[in-house]
C-alpha cells in the first residue's frame, strides 16, 4: 500500500519516474505491454505525458515498438544490444534491424534500399560503418558470384548461400563429388555381387542386393573421406546422380516410423544394376562420332571417299 502511494505522488511530477515505471512494467511482461496496460497501471497519467515518456524511451533505444493484431506493443530492449547501438543514428538502426530480420539467409544491398527507402550512397556508408563496428558481415553467394549478402556477424550462413557441403569457398568441389560418386557405386555394386553369389532364391537375392540410403550414409561416414559432415540428404543427391548415370536404380518402400533411416514412413532403397544394352552399332563406326557429320556430302570437300577418320579407322 505504501508503494502505491509513493508512486501516485511521484507519477504526476517527474517524467523520469514515468519512464522507470513503464520499464518496470515491461520487465514484468516480457512479451510486451500495450497502451491499455500502462493506462491501467497509471490511471492518472495524461495521454500526452504517456506519449512523451514512451517517445523518450524509444529514442533512447530502451524500448522496442512492435505492432500486433490488437494494437501497439512496447517491449523492453535487451540492454546489451542497446549498448551496441549507442552512437549510431536512426538510419543505422533501421538498416541494422532490416539485416537482423533477414536472419541467416542474409539480404542484398538493393533489397535493403527498397525496405528502408534510403538513397544508395547513404546505404553504402551505413553498411561500411556497421561492418567496421563488427556488427554485420558480408557473405558471397554461390548463386551469383558478384552478389554479396549481409547478415549479422555471429550468424552461420544458410546452406542456400554457401552451397552446403559441396562448395568450399565458392568453388564447386567436383573431385570430391566424383570420389563420393565412385565410392557409393562400388559399395552398391559389391553388395549386388555378394547377393548374386549367394545363390539363394531370387527374391532373397534381390532384396539383399538393396541398400537403404541410411546404410550408404553410414558407410561413407565410416570411410572418412569427407572432411565435412555429410547429411543423409547429401548422400541422396549423390545417389541420384548415380541414377542419372544409369548405374543404380531406386525404389521406395513403406517403413515403420522409428526404424533407422526412415523419413515420413518411407525408406529409399538403392541397388546397382547393369546396362540393358551394349553400345549400339552406330557408334562403332566413325560416322557415328564424327564432328563434321552434317557437312559430309558425296563430291564435297568432306565426303565418305576422302574421309580421314574412315581411313584411320580402316587401318586400325
Amino acid at each position: 500500500m505504501a508503494e502505491v502511494k509513493v508512486k501516485k505522488e511521484t507519477n504526476l511530477s517527474e517524467p523520469a519516474e514515468i519512464e522507470n515505471r513503464i520499464k518496470e512494467l515491461c520487465q514484468q511482461f516480457p512479451q510486451g505491454i500495450t497502451d491499455q496496460v500502462i493506462q491501467n497501471d497509471l490511471p492518472h497519467l495524461e495521454p500526452q505525458q504517456r506519449a512523451m515518456a514512451l517517445n523518450k524511451l524509444l529514442s533512447l533505444g530502451q524500448l522496442d515498438l512492435l505492432r500486433n493484431s490488437s494494437g501497439l506493443l512496447y517491449r523492453l530492449k535487451d540492454t546489451q544490444s542497446a549498448s551496441k547501438m549507442k552512437g549510431s543514428d536512426n538510419q543505422e538502426k533501421l538498416v541494422y534491424q532490416i539485416i537482423e530480420d533477414a536472419g541467416n539467409k542474409g539480404i542484398w544491398s538493393r533489397d535493403i534500399r527498397f525496405k528502408s527507402n534510403l538513397p544508395l550512397t547513404e546505404i553504402n556508408k551505413i553498411l561500411k560503418n556497421l561492418e567496421s563496428k563488427k556488427l554485420i558481415k558480408a557473405v558471397k553467394s554461390v548463386a551469383a558470384s558478384k552478389k554479396k549478402v549481409y547478415m549479422l556477424y555471429n550468424l552461420q550462413p544458410d546452406r542456400t548461400v554457401t552451397g552446403g557441403a559441396w562448395y568450399s569457398d565458392q568453388d564447386f568441389e567436383s573431385e570430391f563429388v566424383e570420389v563420393l560418386n565412385q565410392q557409393c557405386f562400388k559399395f552398391l555394386q559389391s553388395k549386388a555381387e555378394a547377393a548374386r553369389d549367394g545363390k539363394q532364391s531370387p527374391m532373397v537375392q534381390r532384396n539383399s542386393s538393396f541398400a537403404t540410403s541410411h546404410e550408404v550414409w553410414k558407410y561413407i561416414c565410416e570411410l572418412g573421406i569427407s572432411k565435412v559432415d555429410l547429411s543423409m540428404d547429401d548422400i541422396e543427391t549423390i545417389l541420384n546422380t548415380l541414377i542419372y548415370d544409369g548405374k543404380v536404380e531406386m525404389t521406395v518402400i513403406a517403413a515403420k516410423e522409428g526404424t533407422v533411416g526412415s523419413v515420413d514412413g518411407q525408406m529409399k532403397l538403392y541397388r546397382g544394376v547393369n546396362a540393358i544394352l551394349q553400345p549400339t552399332g552406330l557408334v562403332k563406326t566413325p560416322c557415328g562420332l564424327c564432328p563434321v557429320f552434317h557437312d559430309c556430302h558425296e563430291g564435297g570437300e568432306i565426303s565418305p571417299s576422302s574421309c580421314i577418320y574412315m581411313s584411320e579407322w580402316l587401318d586400325f
Binding site: P202, M203, T241, G246, A275, I276, G288, F293
Partner: protein, 547 residues
C-alpha cells in the same frame, strides 16, 4: 521418303540390281505414283528397258501397281516402296537367322527366295537340293523330301508366306500394264480397294500345297564359262509341273522382325537380371509367336501354369521359384513383363511397345554417351527423367560445375538432341522475364537419329565402292591370274608353270590386295552393325505410330 532414305535406296538398288533399275527406282521414289508413259519420258530410257526394270522391282515386292487416279480406265500407276528396298540391307541378318534356326537347308531356302523375290515351292526345292548336292561329297545327293520338310517348317512358323494373288498369280513374272488392266477388270473388288491387300488377309496364306515332287538333287558337272551360263538359262525354263503352279512364295519380313525384336528383349532381360529370367521371357515369347500380330502392344496373356509347363526341360526350377521370378520381372522398373490377372496362378504378358521404347531409349542414351562423354549422358538421362528443367536445376541435380554444365547443354542443344521451351511471364517474351526450360522428346530424337543412321550406311557403302574402284586395276589383274591358274590346274600343268603364273602378282600387290579385302570386310560388317541400330529405332518409331 527423306533425302537420306532415297540416297540409300539408290545405292542399294544399284548394287543389287544394276544402274537401270536404280534410275527407275529412284525416280519413282522421288515422284510418287506415276504411270508408264511418264516414267519413260522422265528417265529417257526406252519403253522396253523401263518395263524390264519395273518387272524386277515388282518381282521383289519393291513396287506395286494400282489403277490410275482418274478411274478404272486410266493407265495403271506404279509406286515404289522405300521400306521394302531398305530391307535389302538386312538380307544377311535374315539368312543368318534362318541358318541358326533351320540349318544349312533353311539358310539356302531363304537365300534363294531373297534373291529371286517370288518363287514356287517346287522350283525352290529343286534349286536348293542342287546347291546342297554340289557341296556334298561324291556319290551323295540331297533328297527333295528333306528340303520340302524344311520348307514346310518355315511356312508353319510363318517365316514364309504366299504372295497375295493380285489379279491372277501368273503375273508374278511380267508386270505389263495389259495384264494388270485385265486383272483389274476380272477382279473388280481388288481394283476398288485403295491399298494393296496384305498377304495375311488371304486365308490360305500359310497352307503348304500338295506337291508331287520326288527325286534327288542333281550334281552339276564343271563346265566351261560359256556353257555354265546357258545351263543356268535352261534351268529357268524347266517345264516340269508339280501341281503347284501359280502359288508363289515370298519371305515374311514381319515375322523375321518379330524374331529380332524378341531376341533384343531377351538379351536385354539377360543383361539386366539373369539367365533364368531371360529363359522365362523367351518361353513366354515363344508361346506367343504365332498368336500375336506384328503391331500388338502386348502378347496374349499366359497363365503361370502354362509357362511352368512349357519351360525347357533343362531348367527344372520348382514352381514357387518360378512365381518369384515372375514377380521380380513384374516389379522391375523396366516393365518388360506385366501382370494382367490372377486366374491360373497369375496371367502375364510381355509389354512389347514399352520394351521397344526402353530399348530405343537405351540406344539413344548410348549414342549420346559415346559421342559426347559420360557427363553429357548424365545430363541427357536427367532431362529424360525429369522432363523440363531450368539451367540452374540441371546443374544442381547432375552435380556438375556450372560452367561445364552450361557448355555441355549448349553442345547438346546445337546438335538438336535437347530442346528449349520458353515460358513467358509477360506477354512480350522479354528474356529477363521468361523461364527457359530444357527438355528432351524421345520420339523426334529417335527419328532424327534414324536418319543419321541411314546417312551413315550410305556413307559406308560409298566408301566401299570407292575403295574397290581405286583398286580396280589390281582386282582385275588378280582375277585374270586366278582364272589362268584354274584352267592350268584343270588341264594338269606342272608346278613350275603354276608358280610362274603366281609370281605375276608381286608381293606388295598381294599385300595391297589383302589390305583391300580387310577394308571391304570391315565396311561390310560396319553396315550390318549400323543396321541393328536402324532396326531398333525403326521398330520403336513404327510402334508409336500404330498405338
Amino acid at each position: 521418303m527423306t533425302a537420306q532414305e532415297i540416297r540409300l535406296c539408290g545405292l542399294l538398288l544399284q548394287e543389287h540390281f544394276g544402274e537401270m533399275v536404280e534410275k527407275v527406282g529412284t525416280h519413282l521414289l522421288r515422284s510418287g505414283a506415276q504411270n508408264l508413259r511418264t516414267i519413260v519420258q522422265e528417265t529417257n530410257l526406252s519403253v522396253d528397258l523401263v518395263k524390264k526394270c519395273l518387272c524386277v522391282l515388282v518381282q521383289h515386292g519393291a513396287c506395286c501397281f494400282t489403277s490410275g487416279r482418274k478411274g478404272p480406265g486410266s493407265p495403271t500407276e506404279y509406286r515404289a516402296c522405300c521400306d521394302r528396298i531398305l530391307r535389302v540391307l538386312r538380307y544377311p541378318r535374315y539368312i543368318y537367322t534362318a541358318k541358326t534356326l533351320y540349318g544349312d537347308t533353311g539358310e539356302l531356302i531363304i537365300e534363294e527366295l531373297l534373291q529371286r523375290g517370288h518363287m514356287t515351292m517346287s522350283s525352290t526345292v529343286k534349286t536348293v537340293a542342287d546347291r546342297l548336292t554340289q557341296n556334298m561329297e561324291e556319290g551323295h545327293s540331297m533328297d527333295y523330301s528333306e528340303v520340302s520338310s524344311t520348307f514346310s517348317k518355315l511356312v508353319e512358323t510363318h517365316f514364309l508366306q504366299r504372295c497375295p494373288p493380285v489379279g491372277g498369280a501368273g503375273t508374278s513374272g511380267s508386270a505389263a500394264p495389259a495384264a494388270a488392266t485385265s486383272a483389274a477388270a476380272a477382279a473388280p473388288a481388288a481394283a476398288v480397294s485403295v491399298a494393296p491387300p496384305t498377304p495375311e488377309s488371304f486365308p490360305e496364306c500359310y497352307s503348304v500345297p500338295h506337291l508331287s515332287l520326288i527325286g534327288r538333287g542333281k550334281r552339276q558337272l564343271v563346265p566351261e564359262n560359256g556353257e555354265d551360263q546357258r545351263n543356268a538359262k535352261r534351268a529357268k525354263m524347266d517345264t516340269e509341273t508339280h501341281g503347284d503352279e501359280g502359288i508363289y512364295w515370298q519371305v515374311n519380313f514381319e515375322r523375321f522382325h518379330q524374331h529380332f525384336r524378341d531376341q533384343a528383349i531377351i538379351s536385354a532381360v539377360a543383361n539386366k537380371l539373369d539367365q533364368t529370367s531371360s529363359e522365362i521371357v523367351r518361353t513366354i515369347l515363344r508361346m506367343s509367336e504365332v498368336t500375336t500380330s506384328a503391331t500388338a502392344a502386348c502378347t496374349k496373356p499366359l497363365s503361370a501354369n502354362e509357362i511352368f509347363r512349357s519351360l525347357p526341360a533343362s531348367y527344372n526350377i520348382p514352381r514357387h521359384i518360378l512365381d518369384q521370378y515372375l514377380t521380380l520381372l513384374v516389379d522391375d522398373p523396366m516393365e518388360f513383363v506385366g501382370k494382367t490377372g490372377e486366374s491360373g496362378g497369375g496371367m502375364f504378358v510381355v509389354n512389347l511397345h514399352r520394351a521397344l521404347a526402353n530399348l530405343a531409349r537405351a540406344t539413344i542414351e548410348s549414342i549420346v554417351q559415346e559421342r559426347f562423354g559420360s557427363r553429357s549422358a548424365r545430363i541427357f538421362r536427367l532431362l529424360l527423367r525429369k522432363r523440363h528443367l531450368e539451367q540452374k536445376q540441371v546443374e544442381d541435380f547432375a552435380m556438375i560445375p556450372a560452367k561445364e554444365a552450361k557448355d555441355m547443354l549448349y553442345t547438346l542443344l546445337s546438335h538438336n538432341l535437347v530442346q528449349l521451351q520458353e515460358i513467358p511471364k509477360t506477354p512480350d517474351f522479354a528474356p529477363s522475364r521468361t523461364f527457359y526450360l530444357y527438355t528432351v522428346n524421345q520420339l523426334p530424337t529417335a527419328r532424327m537419329l534414324l536418319q543419321n543412321c541411314y546417312k551413315t550406311v550410305a556413307n559406308l557403302i560409298e566408301r566401299r565402292l570407292f575403295e574397290t574402284k581405286e583398286n580396280k586395276r589390281l582386282l582385275e589383274k588378280s582375277q585374270r591370274i586366278e582364272a589362268i591358274l584354274a584352267s592350268l590346274q584343270a588341264s594338269g600343268a606342272e608346278p613350275e608353270q603354276l608358280s610362274e603364273v603366281e609370281e605375276m602378282i608381286s608381293a606388295p600387290e598381294k599385300q595391297q590386295l589383302d589390305v583391300l579385302k580387310l577394308h571391304v570386310n570391315k565396311l561390310d560388317s560396319a553396315e550390318n552393325q549400323v543396321d541393328e541400330t536402324v532396326f531398333v529405332l525403326e521398330s520403336y518409331v513404327s510402334s508409336t505410330s500404330t498405338s
